[in-house]
């Protein structure tokens, strides 16, 4: 009888024990979850949790830590990386991960057949070879100093060849077998993605409080496009976490019982307006410098974003790896009087209508921006500042589905953009290489010296050489004032107080990174 009662009690207790499940709200879904075929932040958010990379990036955005590789070495000439893999890593289906999986993953990433838009991030690969079951040799044709940082991105996720071949075109759509702390459970496009705990996971990097398995039994990534619904969703406890809250609601969220707002000190997502420098309205560096001096980023941060973003005067965060500290005192800050003086000296004459012109060219640059409230208020604010110095910026807003196409043309003088990055080199190599014009080098910044320095930075074998080369590029482009930096966006996460406080990460805007430290308070 006693045994029966005990058994009953155990069964009842087990029945009462609640699974640790949370819902995370976000604005948009990804087009797929194939790490080589999508560049969306929405994909990275989930791929970081479902998969692993060779190495990982600590929240300081500088320290490379272990991933599925427990150690690595680089040859003296910087062309050969040898990764020693952990022997306890396994995929969600229970299969052991070996060097062959790493080789397959990188080869698929760079294969032209894959048509990966981010294949360049893997470097100029000569070969990737499995030396033995747990050793991989990653051979480059030229050194790539950014390699380890690029390998932390979700594009470098280790995938399972059998899974890819079995699913074919449906890989990352109907399933994904990864080695991350969570496993694919169910995806309903544009609605929700459900991932469940990978019970065997025990290989998280040391900077996580919990190295595995995850504390959460399952996570539901729910798509809620309407920002007010997301906000009240957190306030009412219908969701436990979201990083997609409007700035206007931050104070309300902070004041709400049951809600905690955490914000990272770092901000690796930068908003800027670029100049197409061969257009006659903005080809004059004096105009571009004047525009930079005319805009008050600090006031914009306060007035438009309630002080939640960092005013930007630099093209990448000044905390980013390889930022040139020598530029700190040279950055262009708000000084409309000087802006007017520069334009006067450059021969741009103020007309009766308050707009300057020179040699028959009216200073009325056309700016392409994304439709939506964020860019509407940014561009209108910039427009108002520029009117003060006689620049009549013409705003043309396009829906995101149209905007990317329009931004690949030569039709505009200025454009609005935002982007994530892991380091200065990451941003510079993407946007300032001559070969990347007209997109993503939408400025048409064609400069041999920049290309040589970017190459020197990319192929540097020491941190000092790399920082030196990228530092010079930063100086070149800042001197030329090819962008108008606006603000650096820090990672802000609104979470339930039922959860332990999360540490916001800045990697590719995926604030929860591996999700290992998501945990209900005890």
């Amino acid at each position: 009888m006693r045994r029966l009662l005990t058994s009953t009690a155990i069964v009842l207790t087990a029945g009462l024990a609640q699974a640790a499940e949370i819902t995370i709200l976000r604005e948009v879904d990804s087009n797929n979850y194939d790490p080589h075929k999508t560049t969306s932040r929405a994909a990275s958010e989930v791929l970081f949790m479902m998969g692993d990379t060779l190495v990982s990036l600590a929240p300081d955005m500088q320290t490379i830590d272990t991933g599925v590789a427990e150690s690595w070495t680089m040859s003296e000439d910087g062309t050969i990386y040898t990764f020693k893999l952990r022997e306890d890593v396994q995929f969600c289906d229970g299969k052991k991960m070996t060097a062959e999986d790493v080789v397959y993953s990188v080869n698929r990433w760079i294969d032209p057949e894959t048509k990966s838009p981010v294949a360049w991030r893997a470097g100029e690969v000569e070969s990737v070879t499995a030396i033995d079951d747990y050793t991989v040799e990653y051979k480059l044709t030229a050194p790539f100093s950014e390699l380890l940082y690029q390998l932390t991105q979700s594009f470098g996720t280790i995938i399972d060849k059998d899974n890819v071949e079995a699913l074919g075109e449906d890989f990352g759509i109907t399933g994904f077998n990864g080695t991350g702390p969570f496993c694919w459970a169910e995806w309903t496009p544009r609605d929700k993605m459900v991932i469940t705990k990978h019970e065997a996971y025990a290989w998280g990097a040391g900077f996580h409080v919990n190295t595995g398995p995850a504390s959460m039994d399952s996570i539901t990534w729910q798509i809620v496009p309407e920002e007010n619904t997301r906000t009240v969703g957190v306030i009412t406890g219908q969701t436990q976490v979201t990083q997609y809250v409007p700035y206007i609601a931050l104070e309300q969220l902070k004041a709400s019982p049951g809600v905690e707002v955490v914000q990272s000190d770092l901000a690796f997502w930068t908003y800027y307006m670029g100049f197409k420098i061969d257009k006659e309205t903005v080809s004059d560096p004096a105009v571009r410098r004047a525009v930079n001096l005319a805009v008050d980023q600090e006031a914009m941060s306060e007035d438009l974003f309630f002080g939640a973003v960092k005013p930007a005067y630099s093209y990448v965060s000044q905390e980013a790896l390889d930022w040139n500290v020598g530029l700190d005192d040279k950055l262009l800050t708000y000084d409309p009087a000087k802006a007017n003086q520069i334009l006067d000296e450059a021969g741009w004459v103020m007309g009766d209508d308050g707009v300057r012109s020179k040699d028959g060219v009216r200073l009325a640059p056309v700016a392409y921006v994304f439709a939506g409230s964020t860019w509407a208020k940014i561009s209108e604010s910039v427009q108002a500042y520029l009117r003060e110095i006689g620049v009549d910026m013409q705003i043309q807003a396009f829906d995101a589905t149209v905007a990317w196409g329009k931004l690949a043309t030569q039709e505009f003088d200025m454009y609005g953009m935002s982007f994530p990055y892991v380091s200065s080199g990451d941003a510079l190599n993407l946007y300032f290489r001559s070969q990347n014009a007209p997109s993503p080098n939408r400025m048409n910044w064609i400069d041999d010296k920049t290309d040589a320095l970017l190459l020197a930075g990319a192929t540097a074998t020491t941190d000092t050489d790399r920082a030196q080369a990228y530092g010079e590029v930063l100086e070149l482009v800042h001197d030329a004032a090819v962008w108008l930096p606006l603000y650096h966006e820090p990672m802000v996460i609104a979470q339930s107080t039922e959860l332990e406080t999360v540490v916001p990460h800045n990697i590719y805007g995926a604030g929860l990174y591996k999700g290992l430290d998501l945990k209900f308070k005890e």
Partner: protein, 312 residues
């Protein structure tokens, strides 16, 4: 009856062709390049060009339409450019939730609308009549998104009675019922007004007719006169209106589903159009048109059942 259904089905064929043509044409005319959407913001022009070629987007428009028509006739609506899932499977997953939402909306709003309209007719000119008509005017006038936001504000946020994000499961589950309640209440709120108004005027007309006077003369109770002789005969215009309004409800569902993140056809259509997902957008437009045609056909059949004279 069967003749009528067949006739209706035949008439639907050119309508559906028109819908296909219009849906295809509109999406072609809208600026935007799905290849760029697929490739992502950092893709080079070469990658975009390769994707365009692979997707057949470089073909002439007529060729694209011809291929599309051929596939549709074989029941193949293509694959979503965004999720790469078949359009049919995406539609199949979304039809159920939308049907549930329609059902949950109609199950309370139609009886309530008819009831309120009848009450207003019976007590014509009273305060009750005026109150009901005021409510119905409000229901007709208020935009659906405003009603949705008010529902969230009061029932969801302030009183915390009901959830307002997503679908909790099938309608017959507790969680499913809780999650569908607010969208169904919001959508139903715009339905009550027109139904109440048309019921009121129709009942008023019928109550003046000879057979009602005869029923009263026979000494039947007022309740039996109204329910048995008045309301039934007053329902024909009400059914017509319900048929038309259900079509408009599909439009309201687009907004409602978007605000409540309810994974139905309406939300699917908005997502597809906003992301230049041509095949899926065409599929959702087609399915909404088919829904509209089916509803009209059901209404025609109901006419006959309610009033056999219509068949003649």
């Amino acid at each position: 009856m069967i003749d009528q259904i067949l006739k209706r089905l035949l008439i639907s064929i050119p309508v559906l062709f028109g819908v296909l043509l219009l849906g295809f044409g509109l999406l072609i005319l809208v600026p935007g390049d799905p290849a760029i959407v697929m490739a992502g913001p950092t893709a080079t022009p070469e990658v975009v060009a390769a994707i365009r070629e692979e997707m057949g987007l470089d073909d002439p428009v007529l060729v694209q339409f011809g291929k599309y028509l051929g596939r549709v006739l074989q029941g193949d609506l293509g694959r979503s450019l965004i999720s790469n899932k078949t359009v049919v499977s995406e539609l199949a997953a979304a039809i159920g939730p939308t049907a549930e939402l329609m059902f949950a909306c109609l199950i309370w709003s139609v009886p309530l609308g008819i009831g309120l309209g009848t009450l207003a007719a019976v007590w014509r000119g009273s305060i009750l009549d005026r109150a009901i008509m005021a409510i119905s005017v409000a229901g007709v006038s208020l935009p659906i998104f405003f009603i949705c936001l008010m529902m969230i504000q009061f029932l969801g946020v302030q009183w915390r009675l009901l959830p307002f994000i997503g679908r909790g499961g099938p309608l017959w589950t507790i969680d499913g019922l809780r999650h569908i309640a607010l969208p169904a209440l919001s959508l139903g709120a715009i339905f009550i007004g027109p139904v109440a108004r048309i019921t009121r005027s129709s009942v008023l007309e019928v109550l003046k007719l000879d057979h009602v006077r005869t029923a009263r003369a026979k000494g039947l109770s007022e309740r039996r006169v109204i329910l048995g002789h008045g309301l039934r005969n007053a329902l024909i215009p009400v059914v017509t209106l319900i048929g038309l309004q259900v079509g408009y409800l599909l439009g309201g569902a687009v907004v409602t589903e978007s605000i409540f993140s309810f994974p139905g056809i309406g939300r699917l259509a908005v997502g597809a159009i906003l992301s230049s997902d041509f095949p899926l957008a065409q599929g959702t437009i087609l399915i909404l048109a088919v829904g509209f045609i089916l509803i009209n056909m059901i209404v025609d059949i109901l006419y006959v059942l309610l009033d056999p004279r219509v068949q003649a």
